[in-house]
């Protein structure tokens, strides 16, 4: 073998040895579950299941299959929790959360929270790579505990108010029209959920490198009646299935100062089909919109939508509707069931988490299970 070949072989062997180092860390030591000591939600234990850590070249891949068992250590019924999942990359992004709303856990009761995640990162120094902490816990009296780093209080309040609204609705159907009508309503809900087309989405901050010519598409707006804020104008730059530079102008029609609002975003494709894509939230974290005042929302993220399976989607129109408003005193407005019965909204708006849970309970266990569940609240 000539000298050059020997050198090349030696380099290859060296690289192989370096890249074939054993995993830097075991899966269990990759995870740290760290709740505050005074937390009203305590960690009973966690099962790592078949979590694995593998090394791929200069990167480490951690597949965590975790089932946390948590206990309501408070004195009131627990309605929901949000867990913050952060990684060592959190300084530059990479935060996630897992929320479980629509709970009904009595004091001392336990419940599971499943966290399945995959982390891919360059080979790291020792120490936990993923940390799970409590961001918020909401109780039956709408009291909240937690650092609220993700604004989870607002989300959990919205989910709980929607749950109360929908349980009231189903209870009223049951008491006014009987079990068979309740069954019909649950079947209708399941049918709507099944009929809703699924969208896949990509989102990035700032402008994409897509160089297709973009056009400005103006928003159309739907009720709902009674919304405290009214969108009066809006637009986005649209190119194919991509929307960016979303801008909305709203007026506070209520008599109270508004701290936050969200406008639901409905897309219409070139075949006329409509999809609920998400929302445009208020962009100013220090918003204090006085009664009668106007404000403009601008978001610089770029959203790219695809029909399920990656099929391209051409955005032909955008429609907005006010989906939630938070007032300066922390109280929250959500549309009522009558407003959501608008045929265009009913067709595209997703059911609340509670309606989804009750309909799924009916699918798995039947009508009596739903009636029993409603009687617990």
């Amino acid at each position: 073998m000539c000298t050059r070949n020997r050198i090349v072989l030696a380099l290859f062997v060296g690289c192989w040895i370096v890249s074939a180092q054993p995993p830097a860390t075991e899966a269990r030591s990759s995870l740290k579950v760290d709740f505050p000591k005074d937390s009203p939600v305590a960690v009973v234990g966690f099962d790592m299941g078949d979590s694995v850590t593998t090394t791929r070249g200069s990167a480490i891949v951690i597949d965590l299959r975790t089932l946390l068992t948590l206990r309501n250590a408070g004195s009131r019924r627990l309605r929901g929790v949000t867990l913050l999942v952060s990684t060592q990359e959190s300084a530059v992004g990479g935060r996630a959360s897992v929320s479980v709303p629509s709970l009904n856990v009595e004091p001392g009761g336990t419940f599971p929270v499943r966290i399945n995640l995959r982390l891919l990162r360059p080979l790291a120094p020792a120490g936990p790579l993923v940390t799970v902490t409590l961001d918020g816990a909401l109780f039956e009296d709408l009291s909240f505990f937690g650092p609220n780093l993700l604004n989870s209080r607002r989300s959990m309040m919205v989910w709980e108010l929607e749950a109360q609204r929908d349980r009231r609705y189903f209870k009223s159907v049951l008491s006014a029209s009987g079990p068979e009508v309740l069954r019909e309503k649950l079947l209708e809900s399941l049918a709507r959920q099944a009929a809703r087309p699924r969208l896949d989405v990509q989102v990035t901050r700032g402008r994409a490198t897509n160089i297709d010519a973009a056009r400005t598409v103006q928003f159309a707006f739907l009720g709902p009646a009674g919304a405290p804020v009214e969108p009066v104008a809006g637009s986005a730059m649209v190119s194919g299935g991509e929307a960016r530079a979303t801008s909305l102008e709203v007026i506070n029609r209520s008599k109270r100062t508004v701290r936050y609002f969200e406008v639901g975003l409905i897309l219409r494709d070139d075949t006329g089909r409509e999809y609920l894509a998400g929302s445009v939230p208020a962009s100013d974290p220090d918003l204090n919109l006085a009664p009668g005042a106007r404000t403009r929302v601008t978001q610089d993220s770029t959203l790219r939508f695809m029909a399920a399976g990656g099929r391209p989607l051409a955005i032909a129109g955008l429609t907005g509707y006010v989906s939630q408003v938070e007032f300066a005193d922390g109280s929250i407005w959500i549309p009522d069931r009558r407003a959501l019965a608008d045929p265009r909204l009913a067709e595209v708006v997703t059911p609340s988490p509670e309606e989804q849970r009750l309909a799924d309970l009916y699918r798995r266990k039947g009508l009596q299970a739903v009636i029993d569940e409603l009687s617990k609240f």
């Binding site: 929320s99 479980v100 990509q202 901050r205």
Partner: protein
């Protein structure tokens, strides 16, 4: 295998090369019987001529003459290098060329090994060419956050239907009913 020229072999046989070239040529001779035979031949010739001229008046100052011939050969070599620099570079020993190329070859080799060993290189499998910087996307059963070679995905257990919603601030949400626990579970991944 490239063989050294006659002049170098002659100088080698007389022990008149620089130590570096001497070392390189010795390594070549270890694996080249043909050149080794020629060096032996030159050494024998040198010995025979030296013996034949011993005592001759015509070549009484043999040592001076040998030094003069060596100087002429070196002069010829230097002149040749000035005229044909490229040729001189071509005849650089291979181990020297390997050292020169190592800074280029080494990173390429390291990159090749890393790419070969990374079964799922994110920049190769995803849609990273669409944007620069942070990207969040929904895939069949997860929400994935990617930035450079780092990535985080929250994965949804197989089973029921999943609803994905995006927030124009840069958050992506997935909602599903966990088939085992019956609980509605909501995943959020944040761009910042």
């Amino acid at each position: 295998m490239k063989h050294p020229g006659e002049i170098r072999l002659t100088l080698y046989a007389g022990g008149e090369l620089g130590w570096w070239e001497q070392f390189a040529l010795t390594r070549h001779l270890h694996r080249c019987p043909a050149c080794r035979r020629r060096v032996e031949m030159y050494r024998n010739d040198r010995k025979v001529i030296s013996e034949a001229l011993t005592g001759s008046d015509e070549f009484a100052d043999w040592e001076r003459l040998a030094a003069e011939m060596t100087a002429n050969i070196h002069l010829g070599l230097a002149a040749g290098e000035c005229v044909e620099q490229a040729r001189a570079e071509r005849t650089r020993p291979r181990w020297q060329r390997a050292i020169i190329l190592a800074p280029i070859v080494l990173p390429v080799l390291v990159l090749a090994v890393v790419l070969l060993r990374m079964g799922q290189n994110p920049t190769a499998t995803g849609k990273m060419d669409w944007v620069e910087g942070t990207l969040i996307e929904t895939t069949g059963g997860s929400i994935e956050w990617r930035q450079g070679t780092a990535g985080l995905s929250l994965q949804i257990p197989p089973g029921g239907a999943v609803t994905y919603l995006v927030n124009a601030r840069g958050e992506v949400r997935a909602r599903y009913v966990d088939e085992e626990t019956g609980q509605v579970t909501i995943h959020n991944v944040y761009a910042q």
